[in-house]
């Protein structure tokens, strides 16, 4: 595939990137020390001064920032610029607690637009494309973020937002959408709907999709690529750092390049806080080095992944991070075992007659946790005997147990009976009263 780089820095030599990072980190540290009392106090407690930070290697000396810090300083306590410089706020979905608010200066929005323009370019997009945005517009960063990026690239934006899936597909057909941006679960749903409407996905102009805002597996990628007859690219981000575009996937589809000229990524041991070497799995931690309104340092994402500097065939030199295999927020602890819904998803996708539409129901009977997995069978699945269904349920249960080490009760349900989401998929119901 022909490579389109949006910015020259994407292929810059490592020493140049590090020099830029050092310069920008120093500036950021000075900026937050002078303008964010929360950080000044933290520095003072640690006996740290901005002068102690000399290069990018010193980033590990800085204190961590936690989601709770944003909540404690809700809504604007961690902002580093006066309100008259803030041109936009967004808020996290608040799915795992009280929502948090983030802010942007005009320059922050420009940077955001640029990094997403890089992501769209890496997916093969150009200004000649129609970019169909089915992320929700509003406080959620997905819709307006991709909108900003596609506009920066000079592509033609189709700002559909979420909802009315059949109409979305009609628009896709009539307007000639080239690139689709939405959550992977919504992409799946659109793919199913396209089939239901009797439309041949190959007849659509659509050729690529940029999907993010929730973890998804390789198997799910294959399924989406097949259903929509496109190439599916991952995009990563979180509102606290910027929103989507913190890292993005290239043609190699083996991880996401971190926009290192704007963010420093580290992988740490979530228990000890120690920095782990390249290639080790751990919690991803990001430091903003160009943000003006909300420059968080060493932000604990609670996402578990690893990074690699292995040379990438696309030519980009930015470090790559793996698909996070789950957010520690999404992680369930069932009978003392850490369970990520994405692990279960990849098990389910191994079976041809079921779909990756599933619901995990965790409950507690007496002192013991129970896990029930409801999963939709595929349309056209031929189960004409109870025995066959029970056999399949047993096989799935066995496969889940071999991956997770805990037993689960599997219930196959009819196609399209589990609730669909247009935004982030709701995959877990935890009925335990802990």
């Amino acid at each position: 595939m022909e490579q389109h780089y949006y910015s020259p820095v994407e292929t810059a030599p490592l020493d140049e990137i590090r020099a830029l990072q050092s310069y920008r980190l120093l500036k950021t540290v000075r900026h937050i020390y002078d303008h964010v009392p929360f950080y000044r106090n933290k520095f003072d407690e640690l006996g740290l001064t901005p002068e102690d930070i000399k290069t990018v290697d010193d980033v590990s000396k800085l204190p961590f920032t936690y989601k709770q810090d944003l909540r404690d300083n809700y809504p604007y306590g961690l902002f580093a610029v006066p309100q008259d410089q803030v041109v936009r706020v967004h808020a996290s979905s608040g799915t795992t607690g009280k929502q948090t608010v983030v802010g942007y200066t005009q320059r922050d929005l420009d940077v955001w637009g640029e990094i997403i323009a890089r992501a769209i370019s890496a997916a093969g997009g150009t200004k000649h494309d129609f970019v169909h945005i089915s992320y929700g517009y509003g406080l959620f960063t997905g819709g307006l973020g991709l909108h900003q990026g596609a506009t920066t690239l000079g592509a033609s934006v189709i700002p559909v937002s979420t909802g009315n899936t059949k109409r979305q597909i009609q628009i896709m057909q009539d307007f000639g959408s080239d690139i689709l941006c939405c959550t992977p679960s919504y992409a799946m749903y659109m793919g199913e709907t396209i089939r239901d409407m009797g439309i041949d996905p190959n007849a659509l102009k659509l050729r690529a999709g940029i999907f993010g805002a929730e973890p998804w597996s390789e198997e799910m990628r294959k399924k989406i690529e097949e259903l929509l007859a496109i190439k599916a690219y991952d995009i990563y981000g979180l509102s606290e750092i910027m929103g989507p575009g913190v890292s993005y996937e290239c043609s190699e589809q083996t991880g996401m390049h971190v926009n290192e000229d704007h963010f420093i990524v580290e992988v740490i041991d979530p228990d000890t806080g120690e920095v782990l070497p390249e290639g080790s799995w751990g919690e991803l931690v990001f430091t903003c080095i160009t943000k003006e309104a909300l420059p968080l340092i060493r932000y604990r994402t609670r996402d578990i992944g690893f990074i690699s500097r292995k040379k990438c065939s696309c030519g980009r030199t930015f470090v790559k991070m793996s698909k996070p295999n789950g957010r520690t927020d999404d992680m369930l602890i069932i009978r003392g075992v850490n369970v990520f819904p994405s692990q279960i998803e990849s098990v389910l996708l191994q079976f041809p007659d079921i779909t990756p539409n599933y619901l995990l129901i965790v409950d507690r009977e007496g002192a013991l946790d129970s896990l029930e997995i409801q999963v939709e069978m595929a349309e056209g699945a031929a189960f004409d005997a109870v025995r066959l269904i029970e056999k399949r349920e047993k096989e799935i249960s066995g496969a889940v147990e071999s991956i997770l080490g805990i037993a689960a009760t599997i219930h196959l349900v009819s196609p399209k009976t589990l609730a669909r989401s247009e935004g982030k998929a709701q995959r877990v119901i935890d009925k335990r009263k802990l």
Binding site: M377, E379, G380, A381, A382, F383, D384, A385, V386, I389, E390, H411, L412, V413, S414, P415, K416, T417
Partner: protein
């Protein structure tokens, strides 16, 4: 000599059976025989209908998981020992019956029995050899 049976996956939810029969009503499909194999969470509804293809299409369109299976239908006299005689033939031939169910045949003094066996071809052969009356259509 095989007839098409419709198997529908049904979750144990109130109104599901009504929904299925209502879809068939709207499609003007007649039901000749039915049986349900049930577990705690779901059941498989097996149907012999007037128009299996139409029934399959209509149910699938409404999101049901449906499959068509070839089953054997035999006519059995309405007297003690008649069904035992038929099953004896299969037993002797070492053919296993997965499930079976009966319905009233249009002929008087006879019942129709639907058999799902592990080897359709061989079952047909031995049943014919032993003079069992096979039913080629439920209508």
């Amino acid at each position: 000599m095989l007839i098409k049976q419709l198997s529908v996956f049904v979750e144990n939810q109130k109104g599901k059976l009504w929904e299925i029969t209502d879809i068939l009503r709207k499609g003007e499909v007649d039901i000749r025989a039915l049986t349900i194999a049930d577990t705690t969470d779901f059941g498989i509804l097996r149907l012999i209908v007037s128009d299996p293809a139409k029934a399959e299409y209509s149910l699938k369109e409404q999101g049901f998981t449906v499959s068509l299976t070839d089953v054997i239908a035999v006519q059995v006299d309405d007297r003690p020992g008649a069904l035992a005689a038929v099953l004896d033939v299969l037993n002797q031939a070492d053919i296993s019956v997965e499930y079976m169910y009966a319905f009233v045949s249009k002929a008087e003094d006879a019942a129709c029995v639907i058999l799902r066996v592990d080897d359709n071809a061989r079952a047909l052969e031995v049943l014919k050899q032993n003079g069992v009356r096979l039913v080629s259509t439920a209508y």
